[in-house]
């Protein structure tokens, strides 16, 4: 439930903003000049806000499309990300977004046309090479689809933009909009999964594993490329057994030959994000585990991490084509 809507005066008449306001007629609306007035002040408590966040309707003026971090990508040279939202509907304790911003309010940038102009410019810069755009970096790509209509706008846009590829990264089951339109081979919906125990302990508000597999299956059978993202792997005594069960559950429903790409990475957080999140959640077991600083990242000790990855990779290779596998390599 949205507690309040803040809207920038400059976008208050924007048709996309009006549609959002129509959905929340009972919610107080507060006009603001810039989303930073509400989103950026330091005296805010992310953890408290997360239980009842507000919505901020804004527009993004600069830096709409950014180069993806090193090692982020699916084997091609040009990788970018863009965010039509800041913050996520879900509350996953391992996610770097927990400590990224001072506020847990959800910002929606409604000037999609400006984003698509920036994407076009970026594609032209690298023509004729393929260029990947990742949309699920600062938010879940599809979780808020009924409100944002993000896929409704961007998927057809990517479909008609030669050389542009889009990854929709999601933990949601919101595939209804995609099922209404013609599948596009250059739009990959990548579903993130953790095993059942990690899901129960760490992914608050996220739909069940079985419901997400069902959504993935429906999408795949409709002809859409789908991906799997096993990131992060979280350590506990039976994690390998539980991961094996997760693979069994997924591949008993999904044809491995229809999987576009698979990636896998162990739990890690940039040092500063870790410090911030740990301050917010001192009682969280994940942060009390045996972690250490490597390459400015807090992670499991490298030997432990490599052993976790190796175990999971070998299980994964029983199901998938190795050519579709892209490990998350963050250390040298």
């Amino acid at each position: 439930m949205v507690s309040c809507i803040y809207i920038e005066t400059a976008v208050s008449d924007h048709p996309r903003a009006q549609k959002i306001l129509d959905r929340y007629r009972q919610v107080p609306v507060v006009e603001i000049e810039h989303h930073g007035e509400v989103f950026n002040p330091r005296a805010q408590n992310f953890r408290l806000q997360k239980s009842n966040p507000a919505l901020i309707i804004s527009s993004k003026h600069k830096r709409r499309v950014l180069a993806a971090p090193e090692g982020y990508g699916l084997g091609v040279k040009h990788n970018y990300y863009f965010s039509h939202m800041l913050n996520c509907l879900y509350d996953c304790r391992y996610c770097f977004l927990q400590g990224m911003y001072p506020s847990a309010h959800q910002v929606i940038f409604v000037n999609y046309e400006d984003f698509s102009d920036s994407i076009t410019e970026t594609v032209e810069l690298h023509a004729p090479d393929p260029v990947w755009f990742f949309s699920g970096y600062d938010c879940d790509s599809l979780a808020y689809e009924p409100v944002t209509r993000f896929a409704e706008y961007f998927v057809p846009f990517i479909a008609r933009t030669k050389n542009a590829w889009l990854e929709l990264r999601t933990k949601s089951t919101q595939v209804r909009q995609l099922l209404k339109i013609q599948p596009c081979e250059r739009v990959v919906t990548a579903f993130s999964f953790t095993d059942a125990h990690s899901h129960a302990k760490l992914e608050h508000g996220v739909p069940s594993i079985s419901k997400r597999i069902e959504a993935m299956k429906t999408l795949s059978e409709a002809g859409w490329p789908v991906g799997l993202r096993f990131d992060p792997l979280v350590y506990y005594d039976n994690f390998a057994q539980s991961f094996a069960q997760l693979l069994e559950q997924i591949f008993s429903a999904i044809d491995p030959n229809r999987i576009h790409s698979v990636s896998l990475g162990a739990f890690r957080l940039p040092k500063d994000n870790f410090r911030q999140i740990h301050r917010l959640y001192p009682d969280e077991a994940l942060f009390a585990q045996n972690l250490e600083l490597n390459n400015a990242m807090m992670s499991y000790p490298l030997s432990q991490e490599q052993s976790m990855i190796k175990d999971c990779e070998s299980m994964l290779m029983n199901y998938i084509n190795p050519d579709t596998y892209f490990p998350c390599e963050w250390y040298e």
């Binding site: 507690s3 309040c4 803040y6 107080p28 507060v30 603001i32 000049e33 007035e37 509400v38 002040p41 005296a43 805010q44 408590n45 408290l48 806000q49 239980s51 009842n52 507000a54 125990h197 990690s198 302990k201 760490l202 979280v234 506990y236 005594d237 740990h278 001192p282 009682d283 969280e284 077991a285 994940l286 942060f287 009390a288 585990q289 045996n290």
Partner: protein, 269 residues
Amino acid sequence: MLIWITALHCEAKPVIDFYRLKKSPAHRGFDLYQNDDMCLVVSGIGKTSAAAATAWVAALLPSYTSIAWINLGIAGAAIQDIGSAFWIHKITSESPRQHYFPVPTFTTGFDSSACTTLDEASNEYHPETLFDMEASGFFSTATRFSSAEFIHCLKIVSDNQDQQPGFDKAVISAQINQHIDSIDKFAKKLEMLNQQSINLKISDTDWHSILDRARFSMTQQAQLKTVLGFLLNRDFDAETLIRQVSGLSSSRDILKQLNQIRLDESRNL
């Protein structure tokens, strides 16, 4: 701890009576009323007075790990009915021009409104905002001591563009008093929220019960805080932990033992 800031005694009276607050004879500077769980400061009129009173009372209470705040008072309005009550969602300081946004983390039970803080009383009204003389000074100062989720303003309309009944203390007290049950419900929700935050912090008693067992360096104290921050928020209490380290006299051994308990506890999430 919940702190009320009002500009006038007549605004304070309904709260003082409802919670049976007693005037503190020990404090000078501002009139302070208190019981075990809350206190109220009468700041005087104006944003500078409100800011000064807010800072003054926060400085009086350094041992409280988390403070919640309510600025309660009267406001002018263009069209809203006299006697109607509002939770303030946006505060505008007229000079310098600045906006502040109290954070809604629970259902307030009040309609919400913007409020503009003026430097001087005025008979000009604007339909989109209430007018007061304290909120911006109060809010901007309180955010130096507490997170915005704990800082709120409740305003009762005392005059509007059709009616300016003049300044009558008894009438003002009555206008506020008619909302005292809703104000109390709001205060209770705010205190609950504050308690959630307090529960995550280590109490002074618990902290010293471990710290005083050995000589901890500053670095070790930071490590101890992290370990206790986890264990005391799980199923452990200070007594149990003291038993676990009872035979140990060096800070290094105590930390090692507590870290092992922490690792065991977190192993399976």
